[in-house]
C-alpha cells in the first residue's frame, strides 16, 4: 500500500513537470505566429518595392548610350589635343 502512495506522489510531480514543459512549448509556438505574419508583410513590401527593378533596363540602355557618347568625345579629344 505504501508503494502505491509513493507512486501517486511521483505521478503528481511528473504531472506538474509535464504540464510546465508543455506550456513552454505552446508558448514558443504561439510566439512564432506573429513573427511569421510580420515576415510575410515585409516580404510583400519588398516584393512591391522591387517592381522598380525593371527601370534598371532603361538605366542600362542610357548608360550604354552615355558610354558611347563619352567614347566619341574621347575620340574627338584624341584628335584635338596633342599627345604628351
Amino acid at each position: 500500500m505504501i508503494w502505491l502512495w509513493i507512486m501517486n506522489i511521483i505521478l503528481v510531480v511528473s504531472a506538474v513537470l509535464l504540464i510546465g514543459l508543455l506550456k513552454g512549448v505552446l508558448g514558443a509556438a504561439k510566439s512564432i505566429t506573429p513573427t511569421i505574419d510580420a515576415i510575410a508583410g515585409v516580404a510583400g513590401a519588398i516584393s512591391k518595392d522591387l517592381d522598380a527593378v525593371v527601370v534598371l533596363l532603361t538605366t542600362q540602355n542610357y548608360i550604354s548610350q552615355i558610354v558611347g557618347s563619352v567614347a566619341n568625345y574621347g575620340g574627338s579629344l584624341d584628335v584635338a589635343l596633342p599627345d604628351a
Binding site: L4, N8, A15, L22, T33, Q60, P82, A84
Partner: protein, 249 residues
C-alpha cells in the same frame, strides 16, 4: 479498490488529459505557422523572380562603365603622360597612387595642384603658353603658389580689361544730367564750342522746313530754227534726274 489505486488512476487520467490538451494546442499553432510560412514563401518567390535579371543588368552596366573608364584613363595617360598621376592627385588627393597602380604604372606622384593652379597644365597642353615645364618637377615651383592666381591673371588678362577704366553707364530718366544748353531759337547755337558767344543770326537760317512747294513750270522758249532746215538730234541729256524735282529748281 483501495483509495491509493483510485488516486493513481485519477492522476494518470489527468496527466493524459493535460498531454492531449497541450499537444492539440501546439498542433494548432504549428498549423498556423505552416500557413504563415506558405504566405512568406510566396513573397520570397516573387522577390527571387524580380531580382533574377538584376545580376545580368548590373554586370552589363558595370562592363560599360569599366570600358568607358578604361577608355578615358588611356586617353588621359596618352595626353598627360607622366603628369597623369599628379593631375589625378591634384584633383582627388590620395587617388594618384591608386590611379597609377590601377593602370599599371610606377613612379612618384607629384601633386601638380601644389605647384600650378588648377587647369594650368591643361591650358599649357592646349598651347596657351603657361610657363610650366621650364623646370624639373622636383625643383622649386615655377610659380609662387601663394600668388598663383595673380600670375595666372597676368598671363590671361580679362577680356574686357580693367573694369575701373571702363566708361560708366549713362544715367537716363528724370535724374539724368543736362549736357546741352537750351537755345532760344531752334537750330541756333547760343555759344560756340570754345565757350565764346556766338554771333546773332543775321537772317533766318536756311533750314529745311519739310514743306514741298510746287511751282508751275515756266513756258519754254521756242527753239531757234535750225540752219540746216532738218531735224537736228537733241543734245544728249543728263542721265541723272537731279534738278528735275520741283524742290530742286
Amino acid at each position: 479498490m483501495s483509495l491509493a489505486l483510485a488516486v493513481m488512476i485519477l492522476l494518470i487520467t489527468a496527466i493524459i488529459a493535460a498531454l492531449a490538451l497541450f499537444l492539440c494546442a501546439t498542433i494548432v499553432q504549428l498549423v498556423k505557422i505552416n500557413q504563415g510560412l506558405a504566405v512568406v514563401i510566396g513573397g520570397v518567390g516573387e522577390i527571387v523572380q524580380k531580382t533574377a535579371p538584376v545580376n545580368g543588368v548590373l554586370d552589363a552596366i558595370n562592363g560599360n562603365l569599366v570600358a568607358g573608364r578604361n577608355l578615358l584613363e588611356n586617353l588621359f595617360i596618352k595626353k598627360a603622360g607622366d603628369d597623369a598621376g599628379g593631375l589625378v592627385e591634384s584633383l582627388f588627393p590620395g587617388e594618384g597612387a591608386k590611379f597609377l597602380q590601377r593602370v599599371g604604372r610606377r613612379g612618384p606622384v607629384v601633386n601638380t595642384g601644389i605647384v600650378y593652379t588648377r587647369g594650368t597644365v591643361i591650358l599649357a597642353s592646349l598651347g596657351r603658353g603657361a610657363p610650366i615645364g621650364a623646370a624639373h618637377a622636383k625643383g622649386p615651383a615655377v610659380r609662387d603658389p601663394k600668388y598663383a592666381t595673380t600670375a595666372a591673371a597676368m598671363l590671361y588678362p580679362r577680356p574686357g580689361g580693367d573694369p575701373r577704366a571702363r566708361p560708366k553707364s549713362p544715367v537716363v530718366g528724370s535724374n539724368s544730367p543736362r549736357q546741352y544748353e537750351a537755345s532760344a531759337t531752334p537750330g541756333v547755337r547760343p555759344r560756340n564750342r570754345d565757350g565764346s558767344e556766338a554771333p546773332p543770326p543775321s537772317e533766318a537760317p536756311d533750314m529745311p522746313t519739310g514743306r514741298v512747294e510746287i511751282r508751275q513750270p515756266e513756258p519754254a522758249a521756242a527753239p531757234p530754227p535750225s540752219s540746216g532746215g532738218g531735224d537736228a538730234p537733241p543734245a544728249p541729256g543728263r542721265l541723272n534726274v537731279k534738278g528735275a524735282r520741283p524742290w530742286e529748281r
